[in-house]
């Protein structure tokens, strides 16, 4: 047994790689050992010479070397003018390499929001896109109908970066034959089935509508500071980052970085709102009911919250 893995970095920041390096029990080295994953290539870590590397690539493309897992980090850059020459590898567009490898791979994983949906690069003019999605729209670089050898579409693991424990969990599932339940965005629901808001330590501020208006305050970041946690799927407040904390816990609004529309157009750190009520409400709530209830909730807020007498 044992699975082979090729990690390709395209238009990204390598943040997903470093996020994976933050995973623990097992750490990344132990993970690869436990899952008996053979890393054919990782740009930051492999010791193979370019000659060997090109031979590995050729053997994969020729079907001589079986590629089980293709992990792509970063957006696929198609510019300028569809040539892909904004991102080259040995003089050739890297996007061509993506195609070739994807067609050989057992499973293709989009590590992070850039590879999944295009992310930040897709908002520029380098014709960047995700592997099989362009922001909210299916298609992307490989096209709506792409299926890897395993019959699966590209498995999207969004997040900017993707949470290390999510990547290691999904790799474990794939290697050990676990079943992934994919959402409409081809995201495994097991790791994206809860909102970032669920488990936020500022939940009481949210409940009683005790609001933060500027940095450094204590309060809920949703009403004014642009926090996307109630509209964003992710485990950030259940599986802590670096096993310690999360952005909202540290007073940083959720940026909505697992969403296909990340980065949103509206300025960060500000909620789009009318008369003090955010335009975007927590997923699934009815506006009229919500407003009525939030009014009463604010009236019921205990003094300890209004006075911020809490270590949250």
């Amino acid at each position: 047994m044992g699975s082979s893995l090729y990690w390709l970095q395209c238009g990204g920041c390598s943040g997903d790689t470093w996020s994976l390096f933050g995973s623990e029990t097992p750490d990344v080295v132990e993970l690869l050992e436990l899952l008996e994953i053979e890393v054919l290539w990782h740009p930051s870590l492999s010791v193979a010479s370019p000659v060997e590397h090109r031979r590995i690539l050729q053997r994969i493309v020729d079907g001589e070397l079986e590629l089980d897992l293709l992990c792509v980090e970063g957006a696929i850059i198609r510019g300028p003018g569809g040539t892909g020459m904004f991102d080259t590898f040995h003089g050739h567009p890297k996007k061509d390499l993506v195609s070739k490898l994807a067609n050989r791979a057992g499973t293709v994983l989009a590590m992070g929001t850039c590879a999944s949906f295009g992310g930040v690069p897709a908002t520029g003019e380098i014709e960047a896109t995700g592997l099989q999605f362009h922001r909210k729209v299916t298609g992307g670089f490989l096209g709506e109908n792409f299926r890897s050898r395993s019959g699966l579409p590209v498995i999207n693991l969004p997040g900017c970066p993707c949470h290390g424990e999510v990547m290691s969990g999904v790799l474990t599932a794939l290697v050990t034959g676990g079943q992934l339940v994919l959402t409409a965005n081809n995201v495994p629901e097991q790791w994206y089935g809860m909102l970032v808001h669920q488990g936020c330590v500022r939940n009481e501020y949210h409940e009683f509508r005790v609001e933060e208006h500027d940095f450094g305050e204590k309060g809920c970041l949703f009403f004014h500071m642009g926090c996307q946690a109630p509209m964003t799927y992710g485990v950030c407040n259940k599986v802590l980052w670096n096993r310690r904390n999360s952005k909202t816990s540290a007073g940083v609004p959720c940026l909505g970085c697992t969403r296909p529309d990340f980065p949103r157009e509206h300025p960060f750190f500000k909620s789009e709102s009318i008369a003090g009520v955010p335009l975007k409400l927590p997923i699934g709530v009815d506006r009229a009911h919500y407003l009525a209830y939030k009014g009463l909730a604010a009236a019921a807020a205990p003094q300890r919250l209004l006075r911020r007498e809490t270590r949250v």
């Binding site: 470093w18 390096f21 750490d27 492999s46 300028p80 960047a128 940095f215 450094g216 670096n242 940083v252």
Partner: protein
């Protein structure tokens, strides 16, 4: 023997870099560094909210995002005339340095040291030891580095929410107030890391290391005790000397440092420049830094030409798209200071700061791959005491944020040291939105292509003259390139909006 042109093997660098070298008679006679990716990051920022650089610019680089974050916040503070409260400055310095330290250690052992496992060295004395420690995924040092660098990053998670990529540094201070118990935990983590670094990396206490003031001291230290000799640093030094890394990888001998670790109490430290001051070192003379003297050239970069250099605040970035690019060969522009190329990074910081050991090493051999890497690997020895001091100095009673309302229109500049050297952000805000954003990264300095005068960038220059025994396996060149710790994910210039882009024909070797 005729000339050959080769592409230097470039795994294990952050980002997309290709280096071509011309070899004649076993010596590199010319070199070209190409950034092979264009991400158009700055253009993405245009038109966005005034604060959005805090979120977006760290996404340029996953290993030094906090440096970008701080530069973005500093640029806005510069624009708005805000000074963050002293405790916020302490925490910022601490977290930026934490990120540097993890990067320095990871680069040294996950990237740089791996070249000592090159097959060409298989029969040399220290190969077995190097293999046992530095083999990717398996070596004992590698495993420990993965474990311990992860732990020190917990400091950033505790204070900022997560690593990488949490915009917890904001104009005016920090997004939230660290609690006393968080700070205590950070002190423990920091002290624990320090002890590991002393025991495993240095083989001695920091205090002992800091006594080393010249190359004789260094030799003496190495021989003094088995712990020094056997430490990871000791082994790296022995390997570097065995393979002659102290005799390759020169350069232009001009060094740039942005400093950027201000002492918190700016009133008291007025005039002083904090740890690792900013400056430009040329011909053994340090010049005060003036950001106005920074320019970027595009003569050899894939952008529409302009004459000479332009200040980043005035810079234009239009990918050259006519199909006749001539000598252009990189997506990186060529930054210059006072019209000159400049090396930046840990060695440059040491030189500008007047560190006697590194001044002596460079005096003797000129800049070289070993000195450059040594500066990186021992930088934590200079950082850690300051980090501990700042952390202990956080009173917790005072504010960590000074509100400044909306960011008004204007122009600001944020300079500071990132892990790989000087990083600058230039921002212009108009009607509450970003009108213009320019970023000059450390690797843009080091891996710069030629400028309008045809002067090579520092890394290019450093490659020239390197003996290459086997052009098929030019490990010497690899040592030199890696000693700069290049990170080309930072070549992020902007595309002119609405411009129709034609097809680019690129004449790459192979």
């Amino acid at each position: 023997m005729g000339k050959v042109r080769i592409t230097v093997p470039m795994n294990r660098v952050e980002g997309d870099l290709e280096v071509r070298v011309e070899i004649a008679d076993g010596v590199a006679v010319d070199a070209w560094c190409s950034g092979t990716m264009y991400r158009g990051f700055e253009r993405i920022l245009e038109g966005r909210g005034a604060l959005d650089g805090l979120v977006l610019t760290p996404r340029i680089c996953g290993i030094c995002g906090i440096s970008h974050l701080r530069a973005a916040a500093t640029a806005l503070e510069n624009l708005a005339g805000i000074t963050p409260p002293p405790d916020a400055t302490r925490i910022r310095n601490l977290t930026v340095m934490t990120e540097h330290v993890q990067s320095d250690i990871r680069q040294s052992f996950l990237m740089f040291a791996v070249d000592f496992l090159n097959p060409v060295y298989e029969a040399t004395p220290l190969y077995g030891e190097a293999l046992a420690r530095f083999q990717p995924f398996k070596g004992e040092t590698v495993r420990q580095v993965i474990r311990e660098t992860k732990k020190i990053l917990e400091i950033i998670a505790i204070l900022g929410g997560q690593w990488p990529h949490s915009p917890f540094i904001v104009p005016g201070g920090l997004a939230s107030q660290p609690t006393g118990e968080s700070l205590l935990r950070c002190r423990l983590i920091l002290e624990q890391f320090r002890r590991w670094y002393e025991r495993r990396i240095l083989g001695c206490e920091l205090e002992r290391w800091l006594e080393i003031l010249d190359s004789d001291d260094l030799d003496g230290w190495l021989e003094e005790r088995e712990e020094h000799w056997k430490s990871d640093l000791g082994l790296l030094l022995r390997l570097a000397r065995q393979h002659g890394l102290d005799r390759i990888g020169g350069g232009h001998d001009s060094f740039l440092s942005y400093g950027g670790f201000p002492e918190p109490d700016q009133e008291k430290s007025k005039g002083k420049n904090g740890l690792f001051p900013a400056g430009f070192l040329l011909d053994n003379e340090v010049h005060a830094l003036d950001e106005k003297r920074v320019t970027e050239h595009v003569a050899y970069s894939w952008y529409v030409d302009y004459k000479g250099g332009k200040h980043p605040g005035d810079g234009e970035t239009q990918p050259y798209a006519t199909g006749a690019e001539g000598d252009k060969y990189s997506w990186a522009k060529a930054p210059r200071y006072d019209g000159r190329p400049a090396e930046t990074g840990p060695l440059a910081s040491m030189m500008v700061a007047g560190n006697p050991l590194f001044q002596d090493l460079v005096r003797q051999n000129g800049p070289n791959a070993m000195a450059r890497q040594l500066a990186r690997l021992v930088r934590p020895a200079y950082f850690l005491p300051a980090m501990q001091r700042w952390l202990a100095g956080v009173s917790g009673d005072e504010e960590f944020y000074r509100s400044n309302g909306e960011i008004h229109d204007g122009t600001g500049c944020g300079l500071g040291e990132a892990a790989r050297g000087g990083l600058g952000h230039w921002v212009t805000i108009e009607r509450g939105r970003i009108k213009k954003y320019q970023i000059v990264t450390p690797t843009a300095w080091n891996a710069s292509p030629r400028d309008s005068d045809g002067t090579r960038g520092p890394m290019e220059e450093s490659l020239v003259g390197t003996p290459v025994r086997d052009p098929e396996n030019p490990v010497e060149l690899s040592h030199v390139v890696r000693s700069f710790d290049p990170c080309l994910v930072c070549t992020v210039h902007a595309v002119g909006r609405g411009k129709k882009l034609g097809r680019l024909r690129l004449s790459m070797t192979k």
